[in-house]
C-alpha cells in the first residue's frame, strides 16, 4: 500500500489494501447514488440562495447610502458582511468547484462564474481545485498547509521566521482575500527566488491587479461617492461612513472565511502525508487520505449555510463537485464508514476547532524539540482522537 502516513503511529496502518479498495468502491457508489438523485429540489436551493444573496447585497448597499446614520451603518454593514460571506462560501466557492455544472445553466457554472473576491476565479480554481484538492495535506505539495508563510506540521522545517507566525496568521485573516490572491500567484516562491518572473507571471499579476482595482473602486470609491451624491448636505461624513462600512464588511468576511478554512485541515487530529507516500496512489487511497486529512465543524443550519457547508469538510474533500446541500444528507453514512473501518471522524464546534487550529499555529511557531511538552497534542484532543493522541509523545 502506498498511503503511508509518515508517522510511526499511522492512523490508517490497520487498513489492508482490500479495506482501502472496498472504501473506494463504497464511496464511488455513494457518489453515483447522490448524483443520480440530483434534481429540481437542489436546483431550487441554489437559485434561492443566489436570489437571497443578491437582494441582501442590494438592500444592504441601499441602506449603506445612508451609513452616516449609525443604525443604518450597523444594519447595512451586518447585511453586507453576510452577503459577502454567502457569496464567497455557499455560492462562489461551490460554483467554482463545479458543484452546479450539472444544471447546465450557463449563469451558474464553474466556467463562467466570477466571485466577490480579489482573487480571480480562474487562478483560484487552479490553486484550490487542482493543487489543494488533489494533493490535500501532502507536505511540500499542498500549499494550503500554512499557505507558504506558516509552519502547521511538525515535519515542516522551522526557521526563526516562524516565530512571528501567530502575527502572520492574524494579518492573513484580516487581509485573507489578498492573501489568497498572492497565494494563487505563488508570490512567495517568486519572492524567495524559487521561481523566475516570466511572461505568464506578469500576465497573471496584471489580472490580479485589475481585479483588485475593480473591487477597490466599487467598495472604496464608487459606493462612497454614491453615498455623498445622495446626501449632498452631508458630503464627507456620508462618504466616509459608507467607506468604513465597506472596510468592515470586507474585514468581517475575511476573518470569517479564514477561520472556517483554518478549521478544515489545521485542527488537532488531522493527518498529513509525505510527498513519497502518494506515489502510485489508487483512488481508494486518495479517498482515505481525504478522510483522515480533513476536519468538520458541528453546528446548526445557519452554521452550515454560512460556512458554505465547508463545515462538512470531510464530505467536501471526498466529493468536491457534489452540490453542497447534499453533504449533510451523506454525512451519517460517511461517519458510519469511518466507524466501520476504525477511522476517526474529526469534528467539533466552531470555537473549539478555531482554537485548536490557532493553538497549532502558536505552538509550531517554536521548534519541535524546544520544550518537549510544548509540542505535545493537548489532552483535550486526546478525547477526540485517542489513537492519534500519543503520536507526538
Amino acid at each position: 500500500m502506498t498511503v503511508i502516513q509518515k508517522r510511526a503511529d499511522n492512523p490508517v496502518a490497520h487498513l489492508t489494501d482490500e479495506d482501502i479498495e472496498l472504501i473506494g468502491k463504497e464511496l464511488d457508489a455513494l457518489r453515483e447514488e447522490v448524483f443520480a438523485g440530483l434534481g429540481e429540489a437542489e436546483a431550487r436551493y441554489i437559485r434561492r440562495v443566489i436570489t437571497t444573496q443578491r437582494w441582501l447585497e442590494l438592500g444592504s448597499r441601499g441602506v449603506l447610502l445612508f451609513a452616516w446614520f449609525p443604525p443604518a451603518w450597523i444594519v447595512g454593514t451586518a447585511g453586507l458582511s453576510v452577503a459577502k460571506i454567502l457569496e464567497n462560501m455557499e455560492i462562489g466557492h461551490n460554483i467554482l468547484h463545479g458543484q452546479w455544472d450539472w444544471m447546465r445553466d450557463p449563469t451558474i457554472h464553474s466556467t463562467t462564474w466570477e466571485w466577490d473576491n480579489v482573487a480571480p476565479a480562474e487562478m483560484w480554481k487552479h490553486s484550490h481545485n487542482e493543487i489543494h484538492h488533489r494533493y490535500t495535506n501532502v507536505v511540500g505539495r499542498d500549499n494550503d498547509l500554512g499557505y507558504g508563510i506558516m509552519r502547521v506540521d511538525e515535519d515542516q522545517r522551522w526557521s526563526p521566521f516562524h516565530l512571528g507566525q501567530p502575527l502572520w496568521n492574524f494579518l492573513n485573516a484580516c487581509f485573507f482575500e489578498y492573501g489568497i490572491a498572492a497565494y494563487d500567484l505563488e508570490l512567495g516562491k517568486y519572492y524567495k527566488g524559487k521561481k523566475k518572473v516570466d511572461a505568464a507571471f506578469k500576465r497573471d499579476a496584471r489580472k490580479v491587479l485589475h481585479k483588485i482595482g475593480r473591487q477597490f473602486r466599487r467598495d472604496y470609491l464608487l459606493h462612497p461617492v454614491a453615498a455623498a451624491a445622495v446626501n449632498p448636505w452631508n458630503l464627507v461624513p456620508a462618504a466616509l461612513a459608507t467607506l468604513s462600512a465597506n472596510v468592515v464588511a470586507n474585514l468581517a468576511r475575511n476573518i470569517w472565511t479564514h477561520s472556517v478554512i483554518m478549521c478544515g485541515h489545521f485542527p488537532a487530529g488531522v493527518a498529513t502525508f509525505s510527498k513519497t507516500s502518494i506515489e502510485g496512489e489508487t483512488k481508494g487511497e486518495w479517498y482515505v487520505r481525504q478522510m483522515v486529512g480533513s476536519a468538520n465543524i458541528t453546528g446548526g443550519r445557519l452554521t452550515h449555510l454560512m460556512t458554505g457547508n465547508l463545515s462538512y469538510q470531510v464530505e467536501h474533500h471526498l466529493f468536491p463537485d457534489m452540490p453542497s446541500i447534499r453533504y449533510q444528507t451523506i454525512a451519517p453514512r460517511i461517519q458510519d464508514l469511518f466507524e466501520r473501518y476504525g477511522l476517526t471522524y474529526v469534528t467539533g464546534p466552531l470555537p473549539k476547532q478555531v482554537g485548536s487550529a490557532w493553538w497549532k499555529v502558536i505552538r509550531l511557531s517554536l521548534p519541535n524539540d524546544l520544550f518537549g511538552r510544548v509540542n505535545r497534542t493537548p489532552a483535550a484532543d486526546a478525547a477526540v482522537q485517542p489513537e492519534l493522541a500519543d503520536r507526538a509523545a
Binding site: 440530483l38 429540481e40 455544472d101 444544471m103 447546465r104 449563469t107 480554481k125 488533489r134 475593480r214
Partner: protein, 371 residues
C-alpha cells in the same frame, strides 16, 4: 388578385455591423462598476426577467391540452423577441429535474394583438422535455428562448394552390401558417395522418375549417388505414402536380415524398420540414472532432477525451486529471460521451450548451468538442 386581411408578419432582420452603443448600454456599463463582479443585468433579472435587453426568455402563461398526448403552451416572450414568420420554430431551454435541456418546437399561434406566441408539444416516448412540458409545465414558469428561425414558411406571394402533407405533430408548423394565411389562400388541401381521429392535434379546428369550405381536409387514421404511401396521393389529390406542397412528419414519410416529387421531376415544388433528430448515435468510442482546432481523430471508449486531444497534438486545458478540479471542462458541441466513472452517457446537439470534464469522459459515438 388576393386581398390579405391579415398582414404577413415579418421577422425584424438582425442588425448588421456594430451598432453605436445606446445610452442604455453605456449606463449599464457604468453601473457595472458598482455591481462588479456581477453585472447590473443580474440584479435587473431579479425584478423583470422578460425586460428589454435581458437574455431572451419567455413566461408560460397558459397550458392548454390539445389531445391526450399533446398540449399548447402560450408564452409571453421577453421584449427582445423579434417576431416570427408562421411555420418557423423556436428553440426553448427548459429546466427538467434541474437540468437545462433545449428543444425546438414549431410556433402554432395565430395572429395575436397581445404579442403572445404559442408552441404545441406532443409527448414522444421517453422524451424528457416533451413529457415535462405536456404533463408538468405550470403557468408562471420562465423558459429560455431563442429567436424564431427556419425556412419552412409560405412565400411572400401565396401559392394559387397549396398542398400540405403532415403526420402527427407535423401539423404544428402548418397550423401556424393556416391561422395566419388562410384568408389569403384560395385552394388548400391537407392530407394529415394520425393514429386515430382523437389523436389529431387541432382536430376540431381543422374540421371546422373544412366544414365551412376553407380547406379540403383528408384525414388518415393510420391505426385503421395504415401509413400513407406517396402513391395514395395520386388518388387523394389528383392535381398534386399543380400544387406547391409543404410536408412535415416522420423522416420515413418525408424521404418517400421527396423521392416521389423527384420522380415526377418536381422537387422544387415540395418543401419539407424535418424536426431535428433526437437520437444521437451512441456506442463505444468513435471519431472525436476538435472543432476549433479542426482536427478529427478516432478514439476508443476508454480513453479520456483529454488524452485523445493531447495525443492528437491539440492544446487542451487540463488540471487534476481525476475529475475534481473542473480545469479541463470544455463544451460538447454535439455527439455522445460516457462518464468513465459512472458509465453515464451525455449527449448534446448544437446549442444545447453541454459542458463536459474531458479528463473523465470518453467518446461514446461520434462527438465534437467546441475546442
Amino acid at each position: 388578385m388576393f386581398l390579405t386581411t391579415v398582414p404577413r408578419p415579418t421577422a425584424v432582420p438582425e442588425r448588421v455591423g456594430r451598432p453605436r452603443p445606446r445610452p442604455r448600454d453605456l449606463l449599464l456599463r457604468a453601473a457595472g462598476a458598482l455591481t462588479t463582479p456581477l453585472l447590473p443585468t443580474d440584479y435587473l433579472d431579479l425584478v423583470d426577467p422578460l425586460r428589454s435587453g435581458a437574455q431572451l426568455r419567455g413566461r408560460i402563461e397558459q397550458v392548454r391540452p390539445e389531445t391526450a398526448e399533446s398540449a399548447t403552451l402560450v408564452l409571453r416572450p421577453g421584449r427582445g423577441w423579434r417576431g416570427h414568420v408562421p411555420g418557423q420554430y423556436v428553440r426553448i431551454g427548459v429546466d427538467v429535474d434541474g437540468v437545462r435541456l433545449w428543444r425546438a418546437y414549431s410556433l402554432t399561434s395565430g395572429p395575436r394583438a397581445d404579442g403572445r406566441v404559442a408552441i404545441t408539444v406532443k409527448v414522444i416516448p421517453d422524451g424528457r422535455v416533451s413529457t415535462h412540458l405536456v404533463r408538468r409545465a405550470k403557468p408562471g414558469t420562465v423558459l429560455q428562448l431563442d429567436q424564431a428561425t427556419g425556412d419552412f414558411h409560405l412565400p411572400a406571394t401565396p401559392p394559387a394552390r397549396a398542398l400540405f402533407v403532415t403526420a402527427g405533430s407535423g401539423i404544428t408548423p402548418v397550423m401556424g401558417m393556416l391561422r395566419h394565411h388562410l384568408p389569403s389562400l384560395r385552394d388548400v388541401v391537407i392530407v394529415h395522418s394520425a393514429p386515430t381521429a382523437e389523436a389529431v392535434i387541432f382536430g376540431s379546428e381543422l374540421r371546422d375549417m373544412a366544414a365551412v369550405g376553407r380547406i379540403r381536409l383528408l384525414e388518415r387514421h393510420t391505426d385503421r388505414d395504415g401509413l400513407l404511401a406517396p402513391e395514395d396521393l395520386e388518388r387523394l389529390v389528383p392535381d398534386w402536380v399543380d400544387r406547391q406542397a409543404w410536408a412535415c412528419g416522420p423522416p420515413a414519410m418525408l424521404d418517400a415524398l421527396e423521392a416521389h416529387w423527384a420522380e415526377a421531376d418536381l422537387p422544387q415544388q415540395l418543401h419539407t420540414e424535418r424536426f431535428r433528430a433526437q437520437v444521437v448515435v451512441t456506442g463505444d468510442g468513435g471519431p472525436v472532432t476538435f472543432a476549433r482546432t479542426g482536427r478529427t481523430v478516432e478514439a476508443d471508449g476508454a480513453t479520456p477525451l483529454l488524452d485523445v486531444g493531447e495525443a492528437a497534438g491539440v492544446l487542451m486545458p487540463s488540471g487534476c486529471r481525476m475529475g475534481i478540479c473542473m480545469g479541463c471542462v470544455r463544451p460538447l458541441a454535439s455527439g455522445a460521451v460516457r462518464d468513465l466513472r459512472t458509465g453515464a452517457i451525455t449527449t448534446a446537439e448544437p446549442g444545447d450548451g453541454v459542458q463536459v470534464q474531458t479528463c473523465v469522459t470518453a467518446a461514446a459515438g461520434p462527438c465534437t468538442l467546441d475546442h
